[in-house]
């Protein structure tokens, strides 16, 4: 069985600085893979490469065997990869529901002229867009329901903004969701919720998920597999236990020689 998403020898540098260096990565259907690594390890760059915001200097990125390198980001999303952003890039002045509806652009067809005269086909499609948006929002229970639909996104709390980002990514109807630090800035209760949600996304939603996360509790709770990066190079891969105890990983997080001094590597770095 070939993997759903495959990266082979992907490299990227910015002005001489190698951010990703010959990276191989495979994500199988309905798998949750976590990417960990210290700040500056190249995790977000990896996401940007997969989604087409950056073009790799070398290497191949394939979705179901189809090469993605060189495609525009919106084409890649249409092929089945959607993401969230670490820094939160919601459409702040649009309502919650509109945010989700906007992401269905690639899945719908009605052109501007049909929209102006409101043909029956266009209205049917519009109803479907509404319906699907409501479904996606319903995934988050009461958090994003009811009166919140018509509120502008900027009025949401931080945690809700993270949830809305996920809902918006879901609305693009992808096969793979790339989640960039979904639990950042959340309190323990919300973090717990997000952990459950990610599992639910895979189990009920049928998504394959690639996630960047710093919170080791979250990583432990959700991951089928964990990949650790440092300076753009993969330094470890395997189950959470394998990776978390790998001396190279501990060294990367805590600095050279830290592995010997700090036996208690349990403390997850922020």
């Amino acid at each position: 069985m070939t993997a759903l998403l495959e990266l082979e020898g992907v490299s990227k540098s910015f002005g001489g600085l190698r951010v990703i260096d010959g990276l191989d990565l495979a994500v199988n259907e309905r798998e949750i893979v976590s990417v960990i690594g210290p700040n500056g390890a190249g995790k977000t760059t990896l996401f940007n490469l997969i989604t087409g915001l950056y073009h790799p200097d070398a290497g191949q990125i394939r979705l179901e065997g189809r090469n993605l390198v060189g495609l525009a980001p919106h084409r890649i999303t249409k092929l089945g990869i959607a993401r969230t952003f670490q820094t939160l890039r919601l459409f702040l002045n649009m309502t919650v529901k509109e945010n989700v509806m906007a992401a269905q652009y690639g899945r719908t067809k009605a052109g501007p002229f049909r929209s102006i005269v409101r043909t029956p086909g266009m209205r049917r499609e519009e109803r479907e867009i509404h319906q699907r948006a409501e479904e996606k929002l319903a995934f988050f229970g009461k958090r994003l329901m009811g009166y919140r639909w018509d509120q502008p996104a900027y009025s949401l709390s931080y945690a809700n903004r993270r949830r809305l980002e996920i809902a918006r990514a879901m609305a693009a109807e992808p096969r793979i969701l790339l989640l960039d630090e979904p639990a950042a800035g959340m309190n323990p209760v919300e973090t717990h919720e997000i952990t459950e949600l990610i599992a639910k996304l895979r189990d009920d939603g049928g998504y394959t998920i690639l996630v960047i996360e710093h919170d080791m509790h979250v990583v432990e709770g959700i991951s089928d597999r964990v990949t650790a990066l440092d300076h753009g190079v993969k330094i470890a891969e395997g189950s959470f236990e394998q990776v978390a105890t790998d001396p190279k990983v501990i060294e990367a997080y805590l600095g050279i020689g830290a592995a010997e001094e700090e036996a208690d590597a349990d403390a997850a770095p922020a």
């Binding site: 977000t44 996401f47 940007n48 915001l53 952003f85 670490q86």
Partner: protein, 331 residues
């Protein structure tokens, strides 16, 4: 039937090297005026991300203030005081007056909008531009005042050159006059002063910090309102100097002169990479020289079209301007 291209080649041949130099000279002199105005644009943009459309009108006010000093102190035919202090006083009046005006404009039209959507101060700037230009129209009845009425540049009757229009030196048989040297050297001096101010002084540091991140700067104890006011003051002082220089060189001041000059300076700032100080200088010169060559070789009516056409091409090829930082999009 003449093909336009052949016409141009003909003209180039006809004008020869002397003509080519003359056009270059014209372009550099005019371009250094644009560059000074562009500096004000670019500084304000750098710090507030605001296109200060009223900047051209501050330049216009500077030119009128210089004229005011000239008409009070310089008698029509023989100035009542010596020429050098007279010119210095004109610069002083034009620059200080414009500087104060810039601060007042910032205080009344932009500061209350500090936290408003970005487009609001833009409209406010248009309002200021309307206000200043039409106030000048009201006060001058739209008349064009001519610095050359006073015998600095030359005798208006005989056209004999005055002290400012005497040739200072010549290249390829084409003279470069005193006023042209004055304009170029003054603007170079002001640009050096500005560069030193931005790179060496406390205020310069505060300006750079504020333009990088206003909020962070204010948390670090920088009084950002004062820094912004100073930026407006300095930018307007430069515009005032440009106004006086233009007056001395060309002679004419009138109420709408700020608009087109502002447009060209804005262009210069963007071509150079908006926010960049050396960019504004080079952009200004580039515009001036392009304009001169287009007018000289292609024809007066096409000079603006040529400038716009070349710049459009340029922008399309290098969208962030000459000195604009090519930023990596941070995601």
């Amino acid at each position: 039937m003449h093909l336009p291209l052949l016409n141009i080649i003909d003209t180039v041949r006809q004008l020869g090297w002397g003509g080519a130099f003359e056009l270059l000279r014209n372009g550099i002199v005019l371009g250094s005026v644009y560059a000074l105005i562009a500096l004000g644009y670019t500084m304000v943009y750098g710090i507030l991300k605001l296109l200060n459309f009223a900047h051209g009108d501050i330049y216009m006010v500077g030119a009128f203030l210089g004229y005011g000093v000239l008409s009070i102190l310089g008698g029509p035919l023989a100035p009542t005081i010596a020429m050098v202090p007279l010119i210095l006083l004109m610069f002083l009046g034009g620059m200080l007056g414009s500087g104060v005006l810039g601060v007042v404009v910032e205080r009344f039209a932009y500061r209350p909008l500090r936290n408003a959507p970005r487009i609001a101060p833009l409209i406010s700037a248009l309002g200021v531009s309307f206000f200043l230009a039409n106030s000048a129209l009201l006060l001058t009845h739209g008349e064009r005042f001519n610095y050359a009425m006073y015998q600095l540049g030359g005798d208006p009757n005989t056209g004999l050159p005055g002290p400012l229009n005497q040739p200072a030196f010549s290249v390829a048989g084409r003279p470069v006059t005193v006023v042209q040297v004055l304009v170029v050297s003054t603007s170079i001096a002001l640009m050096i002063a500005l560069t030193l101010l931005v790179s060496r002084t406390r205020l310069g540091k505060a300006m750079r910090a504020t333009s990088y991140d206003r909020e962070a700067a204010s948390m670090m104890g920088i009084d950002t309102d004062r820094v912004i006011a100073s930026t407006f003051f300095i930018g307007s002082v430069l515009a005032g100097a440009a106004g006086v220089m233009f007056g001395l060189y060309i002679g004419e001041t009138y109420y709408l002169m700020g608009f087109l000059a502002g447009l060209k300076a804005f262009t210069a700032a963007v071509v150079g990479g908006i926010g960049s100080i050396p960019g504004a200088m080079v952009g200004g010169l580039l515009i001036g020289v392009t304009e001169a060559y287009a007018a000289g070789y292609v024809g007066g009516q096409w000079s603006d079209v040529a400038v716009f056409g070349i710049l459009i091409l340029f922008m399309l090829l290098r969208p962030s301007g000459l000195f604009g930082a090519k930023t990596i999009q941070k995601v």
